[in-house]
């Protein structure tokens, strides 16, 4: 099976202190460290596990600039055979639909049986997977947390209320958005990354993908207007007294705020 995984490079929330910049229209980007979007990493692991079971190859792709090559190499060190960078000045300022358009143009150049995305980017809105499927006219399933391969189709599961699983069948080719926790992604060490450091990563621009200027800012229908930080609340209220008294007042509070019926 030939699998394409769409990935994205995001500021690593566990290794940064995210702060607003002075103008208040973006986060402070000096000193940030980036990593592959967590859910995308699970998607790559899932693709690798499928290929280990049934054969095939895994390709990882991202829309971005030169800096974004770093995550492609990391995923290649993990086991993805190919990495592809979709990069063009014309792509900058793309909204979700723009990203989906660029990815769709790339998908049409190849023959992928299965396309995976993470459930959402840590700085995104969980929209690209669905739009990509629509543009390709492929079936789509979101929040997938297990995949079984059958001839011409997949058995996929998503978690529903109460930790239960709902099992669906979906025809190939299709697009799936992968939930974190579907597997345990393997570790990528520094040595592995060094070993793929000189593997060439092909880059495709707007011309190669046959896109007109509408994928970038010009075609964006969603524009970021502002960031704001939530106003500070009153802080925590410490309940005091004996354990019984604390539990009683907690129940009262929960009832009062509608947390308990």
């Amino acid at each position: 099976m030939e699998i394409l995984v769409c990935t994205r490079r995001v500021p690593d929330t566990s290794e940064n202190e995210i702060e607003m910049n002075g103008a208040g229209n973006d986060i402070e980007r000096d000193d940030l460290v980036y990593s592959v979007n967590e859910a995308d990493n699970y998607a790559v692991e899932e693709a690798l596990e499928i290929v280990e079971r049934t054969g095939g190859i895994v390709t990882v792709v991202t829309v971005g600039g030169e800096d974004d090559e770093e995550i492609l190499r990391r995923e290649m060190a993990m086991g993805a055979k190919n990495g592809v960078l979709l990069s063009d000045d014309a792509f900058s300022g793309a909204d979700g639909k723009g990203i989906a358009t660029i990815l769709a143009a790339f998908v049409k150049k190849g023959h992928y049986d299965l396309i995976l995305t993470g459930v959402q980017a840590e700085d995104g809105a969980a929209q690209v997977g669905g739009m990509l499927a629509a543009m390709l006219d492929y079936p789509f399933a979101s929040l997938v947390n297990s995949i079984e391969v059958a001839p011409g189709k997949l058995k996929i599961a998503r978690e529903i209320e109460g930790g239960n699983k709902e099992i669906n069948e979906i025809d190939l080719p299709c697009v799936l958005s992968i939930q974190t926790g579907i597997n345990e992604p393997r570790y990528v060490g520094m040595r592995g990354i060094r070993q793929v450091a000189s593997v060439p990563i092909p880059t495709f621009g707007a011309v190669e993908l046959g896109l007109n200027g509408n994928a970038g800012a010009a075609g964006a229908k969603v524009r970021r207007v502002d960031y704001f930080t939530a106003p500070e609340g009153k802080g925590a209220e410490m309940l005091e007294g004996s354990t019984e008294a604390i539990v009683d007042s907690l129940i009262e509070l929960l009832k009062a705020k509608g947390g308990l019926n």
Partner: protein, 685 residues
Amino acid sequence: MAEAIQSPAQATFWFVQGRVLFWLINLLGSACFAYIVAKRLTPLMRGQRDMRFDRPLMRLGRLLKFWFGQWRHPRYLAAGIIHILLFSGFIVLVMHTFALLAMGTSGRHAAAAAAGGLYGAISDYAATVVFLCMIVAIVRRLLKPARYAVPAKYGKAHTADAIFLLALIAVLMAADSVFEASHAVAVRESLPVISLAWMLEGALAAAPLAVLSNLYLGAYLVHELSFFFLLCYRPFGIQFHVETSLFSVYFAKLDRGTVKPVRWGVPDGQLDQVQSFGVKTFEDFTWKHMLDFYSCADCGRCSDQCPANAVGRPLSPRFLTIKAREYAFEHYPVWGRAHNGHPSQPLIGGIYSEDEIWSCTTCGACEAECPLLIEYIDKIVDLRRGMVEDGQVPQSLQKPLKALESRGNPFGKMEKKKADWVKAKDFQQTCNVRILNGEHNTETLYFVDSITSYDDRIQAIGRATASILDRSGENFGILGAVEKDSGHDVRRFGEETLFMALREHNTEAIKASGVQRIVTSDPHAYNALKHDYKDVPPVEHISEVIARKVHAGDIQLKPLPDGKEGGRDVYTYHDPCYLGRHNGIYDAPREVLDAIPGLQRVEMPRSRDRSFCCGGGGLALFYEPKEDQRMGVKRVQMAAEAGANVIVTACPFCMVNMEDAIKVAGMEGKMTAIDLTELVEKQMR
């Protein structure tokens, strides 16, 4: 005398002349033993290189101490004494046994064959001692101490086999004594009193010559057969150490605190060309590590001391070895081809599990205990290197490793905040810690390392250390934002490439700072800078610095105030593994404590090189083990049992683990933990 009874060589056994029969037995027995040993050496030939031929005098010295001198045996007194007795017995009997073997083909009698009256007497006593030791050893296999038990998950106990082998040695000794006794009666010679042979001599005093002759020859034959049977059977089980221990001890690791290189003989710069890192299949072990597997006597002392085993983690060093030995026996059989001709299978998922290998804190308790100096940490690290390369790293460790790669510390904190601990308001007013940029002529670098720089609680240890250095007149500074994690536990968790990157960065930063010496308050950083780094100035742990200054009078300590409710606090010192066991610094911190007037100090039974690991430092802090109990909880309970209510330690990780453990054990208010630097800083005049 010679006419009294026939010698074994002259006698006829079932129509075969003794001389011929014993030539045959000696030849066949030796050939058989040589063949088995050659087969046992096959995997060693396929193992990895290991440099063990250097420093012969030092090795010889250690051989005398640990092998010939049985140095570590008395640590377990009962078993130790029995072993020393039977080891001495065996050593005495070596010459006697060869003389006996030779006499079957030469025709001389025992008394003549032995080197002389005195040696003969000593041999008789030795045989008696060995015989009695065997009886005791067999009883101990039946009424076994807890550490001999084999949990079901690790396989079956080999009790029957052990007893069989012990009984055979007893038979060998008995045969020897019957042989000596029957000869002595026949020739009217008296044997040394109270020896086994002497008792038998008494019993046989009235026996007719024909009976004596038959006993004499029969005993010789039994001795001969059981000797060769034992010789050829030992390589199939735990008694192989009788032959291999000499080599295991001679080739044992000399440099404690170090970790073996990825591949011996491959310089760091050429590691990129190494196909595969670490141990993935059995053949990836070095020949010496394979020899260790053969040499293990299954005594169980390593696992008895292992903290991971004590808290129910899925790790027992003893079975790490035993499982590998069983693998070697199965896959390199005495009859047939290695692996049955199949390729070698991965060890992880085979005989070892991932959790088993990650459960080790590299505290070194097992290695400090093993009478045969068997190595464990290097094997664990090598297995981890293999897992890291194959991506088999638990999720709990992936985040800190990734953060170490991108931020240079396991917490993912920002580099520019590394020196924020010096900015605490009260502290900065009294002690201004300089950040070194190579311009000032600063003598000493305080290497802070990640946890002391970033952890809110542990920063206090950093401030106490800086304050002590400052107040005692040291010209020192820190690296600040350019200091990255020492990588000590990155290396010990198998991420060698990342470790080397951290080491390279820090080495350059240290050199650029122009300092002449390094001081650290973190034993893990201390061990890394001392043993893992090259070309950096000499490093000292802060406890050594304080001890020296206390002796010199540069640090004066005032008496302790009364503890709570007017009573005196009772202190105990917990030896951090990487200060104590791995570097032998036991006394400096104790001397400092004892220099505080009025400080009452007790020792926990498990102290110094038997210290019980707090739960581990570095990446071990992030690992989520499967365990019944925390190591730290066990440790604070030990402190309480010793009668202490204050645990003093000298390691930031011990502090984290101890304080957590005090809370988990519900001992808040009854037990406190304090770092040596914090205590000294408080008591400095």
